[in-house]
């Protein structure tokens, strides 16, 4: 219920919201949890396994129970923690993991059979009958699993990612963080201060403590004013630092204002950082400790002081430490009934009001199915039952050490404060201050925050003036470790996953004694809170059960993210075409205008074919384009092939080293085909290199291989052969390049070139500078199609115009543009390889190019290509295949078998790499690798594609099916 005059919210700013179909009013600045509590709503969720009624336990991001789904459709977000959901007008939230309703959940029947559902039960059953696991047991389990549901509608990609840089990253805006930021900010350092809440101030907003003679929140407001006046300091609210990574890199998620779905994922490179993330309160395991109304004492105070909300009408306190007693004082001051304080220790602070303080006390049971009604307790003086609707529990505080352990270090147990503290220097550049370091007083937080900032500034060589410390409480931490109350009834550890102390004892009994085994076997710590509320208590219970100390038992590992982060945020920008760059050629627009469907070729887009009127299938267009190239002339864009400009006195020697064949013998004005191996002796790429003038070469690569080749060339030039004098650079995007292929190719060119060419001036494999209408270009007489062909290159800014011109001219000659489909058939007819053949596992010998390894010179891959396994004559060898029935189906990926052999692995003799219908030869054609293929020309093999049901008898042929002597290339 709302307590007038308490809290930091403005009572005039009402906000209407909806929970499970019921409308409520809250205040601006409320969380969903505080607003529900203000409206007397305590039942907020159901636990995972037993579907027990649950209420909110915390006031922060470590909430294990009150998980809700917010929003609908594309905006639907499951598993939101009610204390972290900021209220906005029209907010719609529903509870999860219950049917038909939160108050009446059919699945609570699980609770009745809980003895049979103890930890690890599913490993011991569901095995028989065998088929039942997948048909029955598993589907039922899967439907019962999970808490929230996704909407099934694509999440909008409305978040983004940024990089941030700073001298000092301050993580947490409580007293420690504010002082650290103040010191560093005043010193002129570039500071980022981030806090996961909507307001900075940390526990100063949740407690009644004063600082510097004024209320905590007033002091905070003054500090924030000063921080916001500093131009060198960025203050990020609603920003959780989620992970510490190498090199001073931190990940952080910044949420939007209430109701705004947009989130920002930060990658922050911080020269230094200070972790001021505070501490998270832990409970005590006692029978019945999971009813709505049993809450962390610090959360009860937080709801009162920050939100002005009393968690209930009557409260008892159960604690093992001095500090929790102020819960009674604060609740009484707000006009609520305090029933008693139960302290586990033999000695405890005296009561400050009209309630008793019991010593040697323990809560032994609770009642109230949908909400706490009463507790049973024992103490030094006896036993009693007490009617309360709220039990504020405190078993101590766990410093939020997580980020310090993201690099694999483990925290260190301190008996004196009964807490794990960060290991020393575990993350380079990261210091810790305040409660996160196990310093639990306000004065301690302020002073360690100052100290950490000074030390960081010293590292950075930035001088700072000492800051005045405002006065603040400095009470010693008085705590005696207390973990569980033995007795009848289940005592809960992991509230969400329904793990009890009995489960941990069972794990120990079955010899799952390591804390990792216990966690995985019981699933303690594997819920959405990653065990923030249960890890330490559970390992203490395990330590007890296995007769070890807490330090010897140890913790499990800490991993990013500190709190869960949406995939859409971590992957912002990745949906749709944002996932990878799109690369377009200069002829792209013209191709689209001509109706060509564009095909992805790596990151590029290339036209598949150019349909003409009357053509309804791709095959019709492809067959026509092939005939057009072989009979007249075709034009296609080949700009996507890699082009590398290589210059220098040793350029030729360099080419000799990276190619298997010689280029030092290539005269200026000539082009040569080259084969490039990896150092392991397999083919990496192929292409042509042209000698434009002495010491000046232009290398081409395949489209797919371009990036790998230039990286490789850089390695050779910089590392392996730094003795060579040369320079090179990629010019792939500088030049638009088009293939002109067909009997009328030269005719077409001569209509455009300023100076016409003939066979004498420009024979097959010649190259040189040319001009077209005054534009300087390069011409290469090379052919992938097997026809009389050229490639013309012009600076890219002229590409679009040249393509249109070439196509128009070609059409007047009975030709036109052709695309990737036709290109593939043309090269297939000529037995020319692509990466379908050189797939990374083939050698020069496999593709029939062993002779391209020039004998007297070393080159990359030469030695390893000579390994016995790579030169074995029984290796599969490139051949052509032609089906005996020309139209019988063939497919790439089909496997090859001898005609009488069974189509099983033992008799597998090869596979088909490429296929196509050859209009030129009126037959389906294939390229394939066949064991000992070179010796089997003329034999028959069975082509079997079991996936498609093809079983076709083929003749083994030479790979070159069309114009084997290459006569059409010359002249």
């Amino acid at each position: 219920m709302r307590v007038p005059g308490r809290g930091l919210l403005n009572a005039a700013q009402q906000v209407r919201f909806n929970f499970d179909g019921v409308a409520y009013d809250g205040l601006a600045g409320d969380s969903l949890a505080s607003a529900l509590l203000a409206n007397g709503v305590r039942l907020m969720g159901r636990s995972f396994k037993y579907h027990r009624p649950r209420g909110v336990v915390t006031a922060g991001s470590d909430e294990p129970n009150a998980l809700v789904t917010v929003g609908r459709g594309a905006a639907q977000r499951p598993n939101a923690r009610a204390p972290m959901v900021e209220l906005f007008e029209g907010l719609e939230a529903v509870s999860q993991n219950r049917w038909p309703s939160l108050a009446v959940d059919a699945m609570q029947v699980n609770d009745l059979v809980s003895p049979f559902l103890s930890a690890g039960f599913y490993y011991k059953t569901f095995m028989w009958p065998r088929a039942f696991w997948e048909k029955l047991y598993e589907p039922v389990i899967r439907r019962a699993a999970g808490l929230g549901a996704l909407s099934g509608v694509a999440a909008a990609d409305e978040s983004d990612k940024v990089f941030g840089f700073c001298d000092l990253l301050v993580i947490g805006g409580g007293p420690a963080g504010l002082m650290a930021a103040l010191v560093a900010g005043r010193a002129g350092a570039d500071v980022i201060l981030a806090d996961e809440r909507d307001r900075m101030g940390g526990r100063l907003l949740d407690e009644k403590e004063g600082v510097g003679g004024m209320a905590g929140h007033a002091w905070v407001a003054g500090v924030l004013d000063e921080l916001d006046s500093l131009p060198n300091l960025r203050r990020l609210v609603r920003c959780t630092v989620t992970g510490a990574y190498d090199g001073g890199t931190y990940g952080a998620v910044q949420r939007g204002a209430p109701g705004v779905a947009h989130e920002t994922f930060w990658r922050i490179a911080a020269r230094r950082a200070v972790l001021c993330a505070g501490a998270l309160e832990r409970g005590i395991a006692f029978p019945g400790n999971d009813r709505p109304g049993v809450m962390m004492a610090g959360a009860v105070r937080g709801y009162l002081h920050r939100y002005g909300v009393a968690a209930g009408r009557s409260v008892a306190v159960f604690a093992n430490n001095d500090h929790a007693h102020c819960t009674a004082r604060d609740m009484a001051a707000a006009g609520l009934r305090v029933a008693c304080v139960i302290d586990t220790r033999p000695e405890a602070p005296a009561s400050t009001g009209d309630w008793p303080v019991y010593t040697e006390g323990a809560v032994t049971g609770t009642s109230g199915r949908l909400g706490l009604r009463s507790i049973s307790l024992r103490h030094a003086g006896g036993q009693r039952d007490v009617f309360v609707d709220t039990l504020a529990v405190s078993g101590g505080w766990n410093p939020a050490v997580h980020l310090t352990c993201h690099m694999g270090a483990r925290p260190v147990w301190r008996d004196d404060i009964a807490a794990f503290v960060p290991p020393e220097a575990a993350v380079p550049g990261l210091r810790v201050a305040g409660a996160a370091a196990g310093v639990f007083t306000t004065h301690g937080a302020l002073s360690t925050g100052v100290r950490a900032a000074h030390d960081a500034l010293d590292d950075l060589g930035i001088s700072a003036t000492p800051a005045d410390l405002p006065e603040a409480e400095d009470a010693a931490c008085c705590i005696t470790a207390f973990w569980q109350v033995p007795g009848k009834g289940r005592a809960w550890l992991d509230l969400q996953n329904d793990v009890t102390t009995k489960d941990v004892a069972l794990a120990a009994r079955e010899n799952f004694r390591s804390v990792e085994h216990m966690k995985r076997y019981t699933t303690q710590g594997m819920a959405t809170d990653q065990g923030k509320g249960s890890n330490v208590t559970a390992l203490a219970v395990l330590a007890d059960a296995t007769g070890r100390s807490i330090a010897a038992t140890g913790t499990t590992t800490f991993r990013p993210p500190y709190t869960p982060v949406a995939i859409a945020t971590l992957g912002a920008g990745g949906s749709g075409v944002g996932f990878a760059p799109q690369r377009f050629t200069t002829s792209h627009a013209a191709s689209i205008a001509m109706g060509a469907p564009m095909v992805e070729a790596g990151l590029w887009y290339r036209p598949g074919y150019f349909p003409r009127r009357g053509e309804t299938t791709w095959r019709q267009s492809c067959d026509r384009e092939v005939a057009m190239v072989r009979g007249a002339v075709g034009v296609t864009d080949v700009s996507t092939l890699g082009k590398i400009d290589i210059q220098g006195p040793d350029a030729a020697a360099f080419l000799d080293f990276v190619y298997t064949n010689r280029f030092s013998t290539l005269p200026p004005g000539r082009v040569r085909y080259g084969l490039m191996l990896r150092e392991d002796g397999h083919v990496m790429d192929d292409g042509t290199s042209a000698c434009l003038s002495p010491g000046h070469y232009l290398m081409t690569t395949t489209t797919a291989g371009a990036a790998a080749v230039i990286k490789h060339l850089d390695f050779v030039a910089q590392v392996l052969r730094s003795d060579l004098n040369l320079r090179f650079t990629s010019v792939t995007e500088h030049w638009a390049q088009f293939a002109i292929a067909g009997p009328k190719a030269r005719h077409l060119l001569n209509t455009l070139l300023d100076d016409p060419i003939d066979n004498a001036t420009f024979p097959f494999m010649a190259c040189g500078a040319v001009t077209l209408a005054g534009v300087k270009g390069r011409l290469f007489r090379i052919s992938f199609s097997g026809e009389h062909a050229y490639e013309i290159a012009v600076p890219a800014r002229h590409g679009a115009a040249l393509f249109r011109l070439l196509v128009a001219q070609a059409e007047t000659l009975g030709g036109g543009a052709y695309g990737m489909e036709a290109l593939n058939v043309l090269r297939l007819e000529k037995g020319h390889i692509t990466h379908a053949e050189i797939d990374g596992r083939s050698t020069a010998g496999d593709i029939g190019m062993a002779r391209m390894l020039a004998p007297q010179k070393d080159c990359i891959g030469k030695v390893m290509a000579a390994r016995p396994g790579l030169s074995d004559p029984a290796r599969p060898r490139l051949v052509g295949l032609r089906p005996l029935d020309p139209t019988a189906p063939v497919s790439a990926g089909a496997h090859l078998f001898a005609p009488g052999a069974a189509a099983v692995r033992e008799y597998d003799e090869g596979y088909v790499t490429s296929v196509g219908w050859s209009a030129t030869l009126n037959s389906n054609l294939c390229l394939a690798f066949l064991t000992r293929g070179a010796d089997r020309i003329g034999e028959q093999v069975r082509l079997v594609d079991a996936l498609r049901g093809h079983d076709t008898l083929c003749s083994v042929t030479d790979p070159v099916a069309h114009d084997p002597k290459g006569e059409r290339l010359r002249g």
Partner: protein, 82 residues
């Protein structure tokens, strides 16, 4: 993770690509024999500790770099041109 390229300064990990151990810099002579080549290409000390790696600043200056790095802590000890 950040590497300090000698030419470009400190840059984020995503600008670089890793190839392998820096032993790849010492290419054997063609007649060094099968054992030497097998070791060069395949066998690795693979230490859990300080190693020397080959990295490529592909999204930057395209320099090949030899990086001294700890494979357990990921601490970068030195970065020089290859």
């Amino acid at each position: 993770m950040r590497l300090t390229c000698p030419l470009c300064g400190a840059r984020d990990l995503r600008e670089f690509s890793y190839t392998g151990a820096a032993v790849l810099c010492d290419r054997p002579a063609p007649d060094a024999g099968a054992d030497v080549w097998d070791s060069y290409l395949h066998l690795r000390d693979n230490p859990a500790g300080v190693t020397r790696d080959l990295w490529y600043h592909g999204a930057g200056c395209c320099a090949w770099l030899v990086v001294e790095r700890d494979t357990v802590s990921h601490a970068v000890l030195s970065v020089v041109l290859g």
